[in-house]
Symmetry: C2
Subunit: 332 residues, 2 copies
């Protein structure tokens, strides 16, 4: 076992304990041990913004709790959906009377549990709207967008929805702009080596030596192509083409670019990759309004990188530039 854990089956509990011990300015317990909220939540008069997802993607999801971002998060087991109860308690923790948006990713378990949570929230007279992220272009054809998974585009959706809520948008308004944010997003990942869930002890999928998998999912879901290893500039080009053509992003358009490592990729390599993306976007006449390069949405110790691009209009740009303070995202 090459990992820093106690009982691997208690990884999530132990991790949550660490978050609470390390950053009480960002996290507070709720009655549900699998739901954390920020100390300020619920914020009077503000639409609550919540999400939830499996563990192992740190800093997602907890790292995005903060001012101008998320109010509460439901926490699942490693690579598993949080329970309906955890989602419900996140919604309750964020509700101040203005309603709550739940901005989550399109996975079967999350869908099911969010739906159950909403039913119960409505029974408790909480107005809830949901927006489901489906930014991963590799996970289904464009004609079946509803089948696509949510990946790192979720972060930009939270950024936009969180800003709108902080700016005083009402429930419909926050839901609408969050939907617009994710509609404007496209992502793709590439995997170079697999990850290991500590409680399993060995990778649950493999990427052969000398190969890379274009379009791999955050849990090792199959990609669109297994190719020979390629240098960063070729990898960047292939990934960018998938993303740009799908939307499509056009010459003159302003965008946000988010490059995330999948866990083990050395940070300097993320910059090597971004340098290629920046060059290619320049050639295409696509203008980078803002970029993020780092480990923003990982898959334990997977080696690889994800690319997310979000198109901007004036309203979205305001949301992207709105101040924020969280562990994983700060205004720089």
């Amino acid at each position: 076992m090459k990992r820093i854990v106690n009982d691997p089956d208690r990884l999530v509990e132990d991790g949550i304990e660490g978050y609470l011990a390390a950053y009480p300015q960002f996290y507070e317990k709720t009655e549900n041990p699998r739901t954390l909220k920020r100390p300020q939540a619920p914020v009077k008069g503000k639409v609550g913004v919540v999400t939830g997802g499996g563990s192992g993607h740190e800093p997602a999801f907890l790292g995005y709790v903060g001012e101008g971002l998320l109010d509460a998060v439901a926490i699942g087991e490693v690579f598993s959906s949080p329970t309906a109860g955890a989602f419900l308690d996140a919604i309750k923790a964020a509700e101040s009377g203005a309603g709550v948006v739940c901005l989550y990713g399109n996975y079967a378990g999350d869908n099911m549990n969010v739906k159950m949570a909403i039913k119960k929230a409505k029974a408790a007279n909480i107005a809830v709207k949901t927006v489901m992220a489906n930014d991963d272009v590799a996970s289904a054809p464009k004609t079946e967008r509803e089948k696509r998974r949510g990946v790192a585009g979720e972060i930009l959706m939270w950024k936009v929805g969180g800003a709108a809520a902080a700016m005083g948008y009402d429930l419909d308004g926050v839901a609408q702009i969050s939907q617009k944010a994710i509609d404007m997003c496209r992502s793709i990942g590439v995997g170079l080596s697999a990850c290991t869930i500590p409680a399993v002890g060995k990778p649950n999928f493999t990427i052969a030596d000398g190969k890379m998998e274009i379009g791999i999912g955050h849990h090792g879901e199959p990609g669109v192509d297994i190719t020979d290893w390629k240098p960063a500039h070729e990898t960047a080009k292939i990934m960018l083409e998938h993303v740009v053509e799908d939307k499509p992003f056009e010459r003159g358009e302003e965008v946000v670019v988010l490059v995330s490592g999948l866990g083990s990729t050395p940070v300097i390599e993320l910059y090597v990759y971004y340098a290629e993306i920046a060059k290619l976007l320049k050639e295409k006449g696509i203008i980078v309004h803002k970029c993020y390069v780092g480990n923003y949405f990982t898959s334990l110790d997977m080696m690889g990188v994800t690319l997310t691009i979000m198109g901007l209009d004036e309203e979205l740009k305001k949301m992207v530039d709105y101040p924020v303070n969280s562990l994983a995202l700060v205004q720089k």
Copy 2:
């Protein structure tokens, strides 16, 4: 090759290009391609604060360029010292007439190159003071502190020195408080698996299956003990004892704690580890004024964790709490 690179021998150049493309608000070229400065440097009347070191430790060293932190950084090859010329150009880029402190880590190459750079800087009438970090307790006995390596304690030294410079301390003052910061710091690392320099293509050291190496250095330098793998709570206890006994840190003392992953360690595991450290410190009556948990000083894709503790007095506390804005460190 399981890595995101072009020509592995051009990793550093390509990475620097990415930094410049991604964050022009933080980085500006100098005449030396291996020296970057922040756009505001040199800041009139302010003591310049610079460092330098090998690549592969990202976000160190570049990530700590920013307001209230470093003004310029000399960049070496992967795991190698920057040249004397790069250090000299960092000093020149930071000099506004108030002098420059060079706050660096104790490695043979860095020592030699910093010394040569200072000789030339003095010949060019720049007043320079140096402080050399030697916070790694595992790298030499306490009686030979001058032989100890500098590790993640450097970050806290930069934080303190950078704040003092921003607050208007003069050259002697900045050097003195930076020295105090590092004198108050103790660190230790543990390695679970080795890292691979892309240009080499295979690890230059090994950690056997089922083993862990207490006290390993950032480049695989041998530690003080190779033991069977231990759960996080035992690992944390062993590491903390080394650090606490060496200084020693006493009951009632206030400290900063910095936990850094070495590259591949999933972030949730860093929190599992921190939860144990927090418990142990509480038992010892040592008070955590502030903590940092994340990937702050890495070694490419090594699996493992480092622990740094810095004791505080009122002056250091002011410096630690001083606002800062950089890629890797922000006020949260």
